[in-house]
Symmetry: C2
């Protein structure tokens, strides 16, 4: 498994850490080359870890196969053949943080999580299924309600089977109605020109937050789409958000 770790200069030790989860077809390289996050990680002195969880060699992009092959999806598979090794929720929430804690001088009590698109889904379910583990969570154009979105549901069914209750256990909009725990400190941005917005279902998540009485900063931005120019434009705001919970000095 491949992951990137960005360690700013002049770091206080042990340092806070922010996990970043990539979108369905992206890798850690997309994030480190195109988002410009390094400037803000340096400014706020936060260690940033970005895993690539995608078994990329199998997926045939040219055939546009909607199969569970070669996609980044942050669930623990229960359906064969994926159930043996595709335990990505456990990897991102347990195995990887343990590796980071054992090898870098970071503060395990100060960690937050962010992600883009399906990685935004991963960030939200990580925060929702681990109350108190992450001090804050943010997402760019996250998949918010996959059980109500045909394409996203089909994808999750590849790993999870078609039992509705199982699917709902991995759905941020369903999970937030049952959430009990400390403040989640949620920040979300989505572009108004995002061609995936009908699949993302951010409005369902926003309504569920309101009903559950959970505060969330949810922002729709004029003129932006689903891509990396959108992400790099709002990266500073996301780091500023996380810094409020991760860093004493800001």
């Amino acid at each position: 498994m491949r992951f990137s770790v960005f360690i700013p200069d002049n770091l206080e030790r042990p340092a806070p850490v922010l996990y970043h989860l990539s979108g369905l077809l992206c890798s850690e390289q997309t994030f480190i080359q195109k988002s410009g996050f390094q400037r803000w990680a340096s400014h706020y002195r936060i260690v940033v870890v970005s895993p690539d969880i995608c078994p990329r060699v199998i997926y045939d992009v040219e055939k546009h196969e909607i199969e569970a092959k070669g996609l980044s999806c942050y669930v623990n598979a229960v359906k064969k053949p994926w159930n043996k090794n595709y335990q990505m929720f456990s990897y991102v929430n347990e195995e990887l943080p343990n590796i980071i804690q054992e090898n870098f001088n970071i503060d395990k009590d100060r960690q937050s999580i962010m992600g883009h698109s399906m990685g935004g889904h991963g960030a939200l379910i990580s925060a929702l299924k681990n109350p108190g583990k992450f001090l804050s969570v943010s997402a760019f154009a996250p998949v918010c309600n996959p059980s109500r979105s045909p394409d996203e549901r089909l994808l999750l069914e590849c790993y999870l089977g078609d039992d509705p209750e199982t699917i709902e256990e991995w759905d941020p909009t369903c999970l937030i109605t049952k959430y009990k725990g400390p403040e989640l400190n949620i920040l979300i941005h989505q572009g108004k020109n995002d061609k995936h917005q009908r699949d993302l279902k951010l409005e369902n998540f926003a309504n569920a937050c309101k009903k559950a009485g959970i505060a969330a900063s949810i922002n729709l931005e004029e003129g932006y789409d689903h891509g990396f120019y959108f992400i790099s434009s709002f990266m500073e705001q996301h780091f500023h958000h996380h810094s409020k919970f991760l860093c004493d000095s800001f």
Copy 2:
């Protein structure tokens, strides 16, 4: 011919313009996706134009052919078959600026130029061969003295033939000894871990500037290589430099 134009919001009109020239195997896409220049172009309100001059379809990267095919080199070819269409100096210095002036509300008296690697060579020769045309010039790890560098010389000979005097007409270190004109306002950065530094010959250019009594800010940076992390790290300084000559308000 393909080029990118970045137009900041809230622009004064007519606006100053900064040209960016890409390296040998890069295109305008590399620059707009990886350099993060947009933040600084917005901040200083400068229109940024980045051409792709590379006849890419012909070059076979896998064979590592060192031929004149598919490379970005900012000279006017005199040797067949390139002399017919490969007039890249004229394209970058005359044809493209005319297209920009005709189609965008820019101030032709406030333009500057920058570039990376072979594009840095292009920026320097553009400033040196057009006294007064560009108010400032900057380069990341530019090719500085190709007539004294075997690989770069071989490349230029593909377009220019092997007459030494002709080659020297396209060599920044040779050109600067003969320069007569207004202040050039040169800024250059190069990484100390740049594996191409023996080919770039920045020290020869620095010495020639000193001998000619021409001021230049030349900076060697510890720990940086030839790549886009280096460029994005110093992009702010380059925009700040150009803004001093392009913008009234900074």
